[in-house]
Symmetry: C2
Subunit: 626 residues, 2 copies
């Protein structure tokens, strides 16, 4: 292997891409190419001829602005990313967008760019690997590698993710820190004095540093030691941003601007690079082809193991195949149908009943809560996932909403699981950046968000969502479902699990709700139609009964997903939802909701205070009709 | 001082409150009362007769669910919170809501409950104290104390906040960790293995532990050592949640449920408590009165120093008074008026011009960016705030959006500053929980959010806000302003700074915009009205010119704040905004926007691809009219 030639190829491919685009981030690839090459050439288990091989190692470029480095790797290893795509880096319609996008470019394991989230998703990948290994020990056995930058480590989610990984003993997670002491605004000493090695050691990680970022053998050996260590590993690799670019290397100028034609030419000259732009020297092509061939052989050997597994354990193998394909098990719908009862209960409790019903059928259904399992109703009756028992189904994510959501994304991306995570709806704000990535990546993570209105009551406005339902609906591609009773909650879970191309938020109540008879909704010759979601469906029904009693035929239309609502013609339409009215305007004649913060008090009193009683809703409708 | 009696008073007041409400969190107060009492009786500098004394120490209960402890303190120290309010704990209309609310209860320094944010706000308090001290050394000199729980430390924002505090050497920040090993779902060993002392040491903090949470003298001495140490201090105080309650203490059951009448009675009996519910023994009343008197004397001594300062340095003292009162300086409006120029520029650049114009006039105007200062245009020409120079005006918050926003809240709450923080609009998601608290607390923090649409271009969908403008508008009480040129940006800054009762988000472009002539907006006999914000105002004007050229009189209405828009009657109305259309429906006949994720490509090409050109807007309007 000609390491230097391959590394320079990656460096100059990246610089050429950025130069051609006249936009992008050359500094990170030019500094981090040695560690990336060392990892990909000496450790990464992958088969470029089949990027979907389930037992491949995962590589997450958490410093997603270094996308040109990843595209260079995918190009030289022949993942089907041709030179023409490198030449159209960051151009509309290319496969080489500014930041790596999952589902857009073959070989990209996750969308990264929003800092810290790659690292946090990698924890989900590494957890899923151990959990799937626990189910299928012979056929799941791989590593998760991350290259993270200073930004990733400054973000709060790095704390949540690293703490969770340390607690769960995710020894197959290996993080290489591109330690270049530079952020966008200048030296890291402008804003941080953290001792990162000490910090990660405090989380229970194996740490090593400082490793010379130019020393391929040192990096290689550190990775080898990391693989041997039972703890997750954090390797500080000292690099120079924009290495080799005269006048620019080691400064913030190298971060996010093209080098310029002259500096790039001079850099190549100083490095003794004799090839044209975008050229991959034959020797590098040959080296990569040999590595790819070895990867294909490893894949073939795995396939033999899988075939033997299938022969010996056909049911287990079938389950592996089914869960990898996200196919729901037989009896799934029937199990959910059986959940509905007669007694009033909160939809968070209905949801727990759904989970308990599905748990025996779906080993892939795993999840938990950000330390609100009892409140949000996530325990399914399975075992807790611990460092000593990855075969569990219940995950104690800790008080780490954002880390939880990022882990869900990583688990979905890894495959083999249908994970869910829960917290109070008001704290969806804490995990929103990861929820946006779920939607952008079209991964079917499931968010169980309870205590969904001011009916939370005594905990007061800090704990009472108002704007949250609507703010979730704004996220493109997020399915937002707010059921009104047992059967409706079962429908919501069914929709969430049947969906494979995007995330779902289940929005559930703290307070008890009656089980409703769908026959009560309709009304002959209705002159008013009340559309409502969740807990306000029963309120709407109560208002309808009052109005009907006064001779005003009133129909109630419950909607799980607001997008399903089509207002009827020739009637007055009214929405009732205990949250922002903003999204209802333009759809209904009157939107009843709450557009200010709530109060601390008994839940029913707070709801009544803000107009959510049948009587008060009926009065508003009477006014509308008058 | 009868420490034990006072501590038991606080413990049982809290338990009585929770019992009366039949709702709340007795465990934290019962375990943490000794440290709270030690702090308030032996260290806290405060004057209950004047809770607004500017040089008081600040006490932040980051574990806000322990509100009953804080209310107990405010009650026994006579902050005007009578027994009747304790008896109406968590009831609608009381001064004792479920979580402490700033502005609602005298003596509550900040709203807490969303975990981690109290600690993160405290960093802002402590930073503001040092910065104000640098301006007025003789009259600002106090500490910021925090009681934080396990949840606060698990949240990611604790990393951002602690790292920033360590970097800035905020030695007057002292955090007491209520280390009770219990979270809502059970033992902390379910979800964390962090060595918190090692972690905080890695941030450059002074740490001490484990301190016996029952040992008043040990706590006292640890606080004294913390005050002597130049670093921020983290003290691990080992407590027992729900201490003393038989069968409940030390378990998660003590966290969030009333003890029950029987257990409470038994707890009091075991403790030898002979008083009725809500009783403050005379001896405790006397002790607190003596402490309050000492506080009033300290305040009087400070007032003498201030009077001397005023006599010696009348201008500096006047500035102190002016900035404390958030009164804008003379020449403020004129300075902003002078910003407008003729050349096209991005509103982020216009914003920087505003900041530079205001900087010489406003020593209270301080702020910076989450490592995007150059991109978002926050440098004003002042010095960087460092541990060696708190007299600066520019704050390098680091890649810590959430920590930044929480620090802004703390700085505003502390007083003396009008702080701003900036990042890309898409990363407003990262700081949203703190922005919600800004709005809930009605504090005038200013958020500078740039790169405000898909026009960001090459960085692609991870960096392109779509739903964000609308999602900000949903937060009750947040002023969202999106200016279209220099003069409009100056207007926006004026509105942001004139506002003293709530936060403002300035939503600014990456790309250049023309300077517009307001005369071009109007049209006689308009049949169409295009309402637009920010960068789409010029697009709308271009569309209007096309339509006018075709004989369709078209008016353009730019709005800084959408709430100001009132559609005209008798014309067709169209909105153009490069973001979610959701909030425009019901207001206009046609809402032109983007309700899906963007793409990586040249900014103008991405905008054109999604319909944001004068020609494409004109075409949509032509269709509407047809």
């Amino acid at each position: 292997m000609n390491d230097k030639l391959a590394i320079d190829t990656l460096r100059f491919l990246a610089a050429d891409m950025v130069q051609a685009a006249n936009s992008g981030h050359p500094g990170m690839p030019m500094g981090a190419a040695p560690m990336a090459w060392t990892l990909w050439s000496r450790h990464l288990k992958h088969d470029p001829s089949d990027p979907t091989w389930t037992d491949r190692d995962r590589f997450i470029l958490s410093a997603g602005h270094g996308s040109a480095l990843l595209y260079g790797l995918l190009h030289i290893f022949d993942y089907g990313l041709p030179e023409s795509e490198l030449r159209s880096f960051r151009q509309l319609g290319s496969r080489t967008p500014g930041h790596p996008e999952f589902g857009h470019t073959v070989g990209v394991e996750s969308t990264t760019g929003p800092l810290g989230q790659g690292l946090a998703m990698a924890v989900g990948f590494a957890l899923a690997e151990r959990m799937q290994n626990a189910q299928h020990p012979d056929i799941v056995n791989h590593h998760t590698y991350v290259i993270a930058g200073d930004g990733c480590l400054m973000e709060g989610v790095s704390h949540e993710a690293a703490s969770l990984a340390g607690h769960l003993g995710l020894g197959r997670l290996i993080v290489l820190w591109d330690d270049n002491s530079i952020t966008i605004d200048g030296g890291t000493d402008r804003s941080t004095s953290d001792d990162q090695l000490a910090r990660f050691a405090a989380y229970g990680w194996h740490t090593e540093g400082v490793i010379d970022g130019m020393d391929v053998d040192a990096i290689d050996q550190a990775i080898a030691r990391a693989k041997d260590d039972p703890r997750p590993s954090f390797l500080a690799v000292r690099t120079v941003i924009g290495r080799g670019a005269p006048g620019i290397e080691g400064t913030a100028k190298a971060h996010g601007s093209p080098l310029g034609d002259e500096v790039l030419a001079e850099t190549k000259r100083l490095e003794g690079w004799e090839h044209g732009a975008f050229v991959v020297p034959d020797e590098v092509q040959d080296d990569c082809a040999a590595l790819a061939k070895a990867g294909a052989e490893a894949h073939a050997a795995w396939q033999e193991r899988f075939d033997a597994y299938e022969a010996a354990h056909p049911d287990a193998a079938a389950q592996f195949v089914r869960t990898e394909a996200r196919i729901l098990p037989d009896g799934f719908a029937e199990a959910l149908d059986a959940v509905a009862g007669d007694a009033p209960r909160a939809t968070r409790v209905s949801s727990q009943a759904c989970l308990k019903a599905l748990h025996p059928l779906m080993p892939e259904l795993v999840g938990g809560s950000a330390d609100l399992a009892g409140s949000t109703g996530t325990p399914m009756g399975g075992e807790l996932v611990t460092r000593d028992n990855y075969a569990g189904s219940e995950i104690a994510f800790g008080i780490r909403e954002f880390g939880m959501a990022a882990a869900l994304n990583g688990m979905v991306l890894h495959g083999g699981f249908r994970p869910f995570g829960s917290t109070f709806l008001v704290f969806a704000d804490y995990l929103r950046p990861a929820l946006r990535l779920s939607a952008l990546m079209k991964v079917p993570a499931i968010y169980v968000l309870t205590h969904d209105s001011i009916a939370v009551g005594e905990d007061g406005p800090t704990h009472e969502p108002v704007e949250h339902i609507e703010s979730l609906r704004l996220i493109p591609g997020l399915q937002v479902l707010r059921p009104y009773d047992d059967a409706d909650t079962a429908r919501a879970w069914r929709l969430a699990l049947e969906r494979t191309d995007g995330p779902t938020a289940l929005v559930l109540t703290r307070q008890n709700l009656p089980q409703l008879d769908a026959a009560a909704f309709a009304s002959d010759d209705a002159v008013v139609e009340i559309v409502a979601t969740g807990s306000e469906v029963s309120t709407a029904l109560g208002a309808a009964e009052i109005l009907r009693g006064e001779g005003t035929p009133t129909r109630v239309v419950p909607v799980l997903d607001r997008r399903d609502y089509a207002p009827s013609a020739d009637v007055k339409t009214v929405s009732v939802e205990a949250g922002s009215t903003s999204g209802w305007h333009g759809t209904v004649d009157l939107a009843i909701g709450i557009d200010h913060f709530g109060d601390s008090g008994k839940g029913d009193e707070v709801m009544a205070h803000h107009g959510f009683t049948p009587e008060k809703v009926a009065a508003r409708i009477r006014e509308l009709l008058a």
